[in-house]
Symmetry: C2
Subunit: 233 residues, 2 copies
């Protein structure tokens, strides 16, 4: 088997193992796309997930801080700018917040569930303490994310007509930017993965990342569905 | 005393304590600006100091990875680009390397003294493991650096005419960029230092950084002056 085939097979493994554990399978996501969440539950999701969004530029900087290769750093810095830039991911998520009736202050106040904070902080620590290559691999939930964004776009528009349309800009942007991000990360893995052990660690990094996303929804489900908290109704 | 005065006084303390320990006082630097280094000793300095240059964008990324404030990250990311960009600090230092008769491969091979590696790696670890505010403060050797760059420009041109003039572009650039970097860092400290303890830790961070730069020259002096190593003659 040629090394091109071997890499394609590895990418396929990442997709299969990622999709299997991706948070689109989570009961909270299912309730969301079935139109069964209350406005307060949607707001709780937006506010808690913003904590994750805020971690993203920091974890990308952690990856750069571990990377001795200028050609990788020059590419990866775009990820920080994509989130922190003037019309970047954080700004777009803040607009989603406003579209569901929250203020920017609500989102920045960081009043998030302890389980959400724990999961997101663990992701940042993972990127600080693992190799930069594992950090890059952990970003590859982008391989399976477009379906989730497409679902959110379609079903949130259909079932939650009270959400102002400008709120959906984030998901539209991710539909375009996500595949671009995947290509960037895969090009790097293709060049820098040398051994079976590298491949194994990269796969584990991606699986770890799916756990982060899954745990965020666990905390939300437990508090806002099972325990019925209503602070954003 | 107003808080403006207090901040000015703090900046003055940083300058005084920084200048006192700055590596322009080091015997290796003195030999350099007195024209007493051999071509091999100049080359050894260029190649070893390149390891420090390569650490800079990584330590700036480490500062961003620790910083939860988007407005600080948006400013500080320029530091990474200043070094890693197409015509950035690393590229300019590589040209200095060529101007003293080294190849780019020589510089990237990273064949540096263990003491230099230890000091530079310690700086990166410091920025990873300290608060982002201390990381920012540690950059403020830029407050006293312009004199060093001016000296290098003047005396290296005078005493080492064998160095090709395009090699001096790095120092010319730092003369302009350094004061800009200082302003950036001081504006951040002004906004985010809240307590005497913050001030104390920021001063200690700057003093730590002077030790990093000093240690680099210790290792060079011991190996290339005292022990008389001649691998780059």
């Amino acid at each position: 088997m040629s090394s091109v085939d071997a890499f394609e097979e590895f990418v396929n493994t990442l997709k299969v193992e990622g999709a299997k554990r991706y948070h689109t399978n989570h009961p909270f996501h299912k309730l969301m796309i079935e139109g069964k969440l209350t406005p307060g539950q949607i707001r709780a999701w937006v506010i808690n997930r913003f904590y994750y969004q805020r971690i993203l530029p920091m974890k990308d900087a952690a990856i750069i801080s571990n990377c001795p290769f200028i050609e990788v750093r020059r590419v990866w810095i775009k990820r920080i700018i994509n989130h922190d830039g003037e019309n970047g991911g954080l700004e777009k998520w803040l607009r989603l917040g406003e579209a569901v009736g929250l203020t920017r202050e609500d989102l920045f106040a960081g009043n998030v569930l302890p389980g959400v904070k724990l999961a997101c902080d663990a992701y940042l620590e993972f990127c600080k303490n693992s190799s930069w290559l594992e950090g890059v691999a952990s970003s590859l939930t982008t391989l399976v994310a477009p379906d989730a964004h497409r679902d959110r776009l379609e079903y949130m528009k259909r079932y939650y007509p009270w959400i102002k349309p400008e709120g959906f800009e984030y998901f539209q942007w991710r539909l375009i930017e996500g595949p671009e991000d995947s290509r960037m990360a895969l090009n790097i893995l293709r060049d820098y993965i040398k051994t079976d052990e590298d491949r194994e660690r990269c796969l584990k990094a991606l699986i770890f990342k799916t756990t982060v996303l899954w745990n965020i929804l666990d905390a939300l489900y437990m508090e806002y569905i099972v325990r019925g908290r209503k602070d954003y109704e």
